[in-house]
């Protein structure tokens, strides 16, 4: 926590968790999919579902999906902007087991056809946690450049990724590994202190056993 976590942030109200946090979840999702979104199904859970309308949570998530940040004064107009930009939006309720009280599940389709489903949680202040990506655990904050690699659970993939990062002088801040079952689908979530170069991400994408690479850049 630093001085300007207390003396700020500048944000569109009314709630840091239900508005600013919700914008951030949408924003991170937009960055992760990496292309304009043409269809967004937004499923709310817990307090997001119960009090979201009064807190502008719906506008906030859509604003984030359009690439707006938490201090963007266009947030209350996000639905109209989405319409104008050709983004289809619908809302529902999420069925999450043991979901955080402020959660949203976003099912997204990008203009180039890329699909992405994430579960985002607003965990207090305007801090968030991206809990799941495409059904697998993820757990990252969106405060760091983050590399998410879906791979087959086989020996060697972690080494490939980490040695690439070392080679590019990217320091790892946190690293998590998850797998659905032994030998099944696995995911690495790596928060970095520096940005990962674009060509390295493309290189990873072509490796055998690596199924999908998603990158969240702060730039």
């Amino acid at each position: 926590m630093n001085l300007f976590d207390i003396m700020g942030p500048v944000m569109v109200g009314p709630s840091s968790s239900h508005t600013a946090g919700a914008v951030k979840i949408g924003y991170v999702a937009r960055k992760l999919i990496g292309e304009p979104i043409v269809s967004a199904k937004i499923n709310l859970y817990g307090s997001f579902l119960a009090t979201g309308r009064g807190h502008g949570t719906h506008f906030a998530i859509v604003a984030g999906l359009l690439g707006m940040k938490t201090d963007d004064v266009r947030i209350p107009k996000s639905m109209e902007i989405a319409k104008a930009e050709g983004m289809q939006v619908s809302f529902g309720r999420a069925d999450l087991e043991d979901g955080h009280p402020n959660s949203a599940e976003l099912e997204l389709v990008g203009a180039e056809g890329r699909k992405l489903t994430i579960v985002g949680e607003s965990i207090g202040g305007s801090l968030i946690n991206i809990a799941k990506i495409d059904g697998l655990d993820a757990n990252f904050s969106g405060e760091y450049p983050t590399l998410i690699v879906h791979n087959l659970d086989q020996p060697g993939h972690v080494a490939e990724v980490t040695s690439m990062l070392a080679h590019k002088s990217v320091n790892i801040a946190t690293m998590q590994l998850y797998r659905a079952k032994r030998g099944g689908n696995a995911v690495m979530v790596i928060e970095c202190d520096q940005e990962v170069p674009k060509e390295s991400i493309e290189w990873l994408n072509h490796l055998e056993g690596i199924e999908k690479v998603t990158y969240y850049s702060l730039l």
Binding site: V10, M11, G13
Partner: protein
């Protein structure tokens, strides 16, 4: 490192012979690895954002629930017609506090200081000071550092989240921060600053977070007024030389303990207090039909 005690700040201030606000600024430079100019510019940016939020107030705007909006204008009218009772300064403080709280509820851009719910307290006091006392802007920015130092101590040693510590942690913290800031602006020394903070916080201890329908509107918006006025009167008490009988850092400690003892139903869950009064439930019921 964030400060955990007010005494850490005042000790450094004494040892290095620099002002309270300067201690906080230097710490920010170290913590975020920025220059003095960068830190100052960021803080000035907060002042700019507070000013534009105040200028952007729209009396005709209503919040999504229909509960909030328009009260700032009533207070403005009241000040113009009959400001005598509380005097010009407090009248403007009250008006600005409500306006900011309403702007927040209406999805306008505000500065969460320390939180969105309590965003009206510090600007109400400091913008009124800037407007009426004609001080240099830099002075107000310095006062914001004073507020920030106090806020850091409270956040580290107690809490600034209603869900954790009740409203004493939000409006209470904002009020204590603002009290220290005015004490500084009025020429108070470190003693006056920390005592203003302690006196303000003592008046807010135990304040629950019980918003109707879970929205940051009732009682939040009008509580910003009481937090702001409390800051002004507490700083005046401290500036007169009166001291808090309880050590300022110990007041913050007790705020943490009280927050821990507070049941969850009074910490932003909307499960008791004002939220479950007959009127509160009736409002919630009505809102659920609009939203």
């Amino acid at each position: 490192m964030s400060f955990a005690r007010l005494k850490e700040i005042t000790d450094i201030s004494q040892e290095e012979n620099i002002l309270f606000w300067e201690v906080v600024l230097r710490d920010d430079m170290k913590e975020r690895n920025v220059s003095r100019e960068e830190s100052f510019a960021t803080m000035e940016g907060m002042l700019d954002a507070m000013e534009s939020a105040d200028n952007d107030y729209t009396p005709s705007l209503k919040s999504a629930s229909g509960l909030a909006g328009g009260d700032g204008e009533k207070l403005e009218k009241c000040r113009q017609e009959n400001g005598k009772l509380v005097g010009d300064f407090l009248a403007e403080v009250m008006e600005k506090a409500v306006k900011m709280g309403e702007s927040n509820a209406c999805m306008k851009r505000i500065v969460a200081m320390p939180t969105a719910g309590s965003c009206g307290v510090i600007p109400a006091v400091l913008l009124t000071y800037l407007n009426q006392k004609k001080v240099a802007r830099e002075k107000i920015v310095e006062a914001l550092y004073v507020a920030g130092g106090i806020g850091e101590v409270i956040a580290t040693s107690a809490s600034i989240a209603g869900a954790e510590g009740g409203c004493q942690a939000e409006i209470g913290s904002a009020s204590a921060m603002a009290a220290g800031a005015i004490a500084y602006l009025e020429g108070g020394d470190n003693e006056a600053i920390v005592n203003a903070c302690a006196l303000a916080l003592k008046n807010m201890l135990g304040l629950t977070c019980d918003p109707v329908a879970g929205l940051v509107e009732v009682p939040c918006i009008k509580r910003n007024v009481s937090g702001a006025v409390n800051a002004v009167v507490s700083s005046r008490i401290a500036l007169s030389g009166i001291k808090s009988a309880i050590e300022p850092d110990e007041v913050i400690d007790s705020m943490r303990r009280i927050g821990r003892l507070m049941p969850a139903c009074l910490r932003e869950t909307g499960e008791d207090g004002l939220a479950t009064t007959k009127s509160g439930l009736a409002i919630a019921n009505k809102i659920s039909k609009v939203l």
